[in-house]
Subunit: 211 residues, 2 copies
Amino acid sequence: MSARSGRVPEVVVRRLPVYLRVLEELNETESPIVSSQEIGRLTGISPGQVRKDLTNFGVFGKQGVGYRTALLRRELRRILGLDRLIPVGLIGAGHLGLAVARYDQERERRHPGGTCLMAIFDKDPQKIGTTVGDLVIQDVAKLEESLLALGIRILILAVPATEAQALVDRAIRLGVRAFLNFAPVSLKVPPGVVVHTTDVGLELEALAYYA
Amino acid sequence: MSARSGRVPEVVVRRLPVYLRVLEELNETESPIVSSQEIGRLTGISPGQVRKDLTNFGVFGKQGVGYRTALLRRELRRILGLDRLIPVGLIGAGHLGLAVARYDQERERRHPGGTCLMAIFDKDPQKIGTTVGDLVIQDVAKLEESLLALGIRILILAVPATEAQALVDRAIRLGVRAFLNFAPVSLKVPPGVVVHTTDVGLELEALAYYA
């Protein structure tokens, strides 16, 4: 839970799913063993960094040989907590929210287990009651009872910047500790709560440096 | 241009728009001077890191006082290249593409100058010819001539994973050097080309660690 934040730098935690993605795409029969060089080549991360990141979690390869593919995959899923079901909620069923929901439903179909989108909320009466895949869009006024009933642990925000902070405050009071925020706003949260903000504007401005 | 990649670590470049965002929100009359402590408080980045990042680009504050707000804002825009117009293109007018386009048009309205979305492409005949804000969706078959005619420098990809690499290859041949990729795929590009990939699946898996 919140005790995990702070132990290992967030930048390291963010690389673990990148390694896992590569391992999930490897054919185990063809590649029963995978080296840090191979992981490095497939991810663009240096082999030394790969080994160092994994050592942080007590995962060591065999010198000059590498890691057992199936074991490393299982270990990474366990470290990330993806060996359990993690209920995810989404607020905002506009274009962005719908894109995220459909993308995530497709991803779950391909890689079942781990994070699972279990509720979508909106405030628009035209949208409430309509379906996205197998989920019915719920009234955000009922956010509290739904979060509790479903045990939502991660909340995705695809709402206007002006609405994000109040929603985060409501969810934190119910024990949600992890947010993926698409609103172009810097959210204030207490220690132990993690927010990843994805802001297209900031991405474009950083890319302008290279353009 | 491509010579810029490699000089300063990408992680530093990515923080510059975060500083700029804060400076754009400061009222210059109330805050003619801003300290690294204040920037740190508003961004959640340590004051020492703020000073170190800016020093990389030859930008120094006055010891014990800080930076002149207007000057620092202008310097950051110049360093990022946002003092020129940077034409941006977008491929994919599905839910995600439309969300990105509308968000960006709104952002440009509030902060004119710098990156500017100038073309949207799709392959769906139902979408080609329809409008998004003041832009008409173009046939992606005409990508090459449009990129050249408009001088597109940054390309946003909101297409399925299977289509992204071929589109990147086409754009690189025309001199595009910066990509913002929303497809859940690791793109292969030659040195000097920068790709930022935003993948909801990877974000959720990293957040699972804290959930």
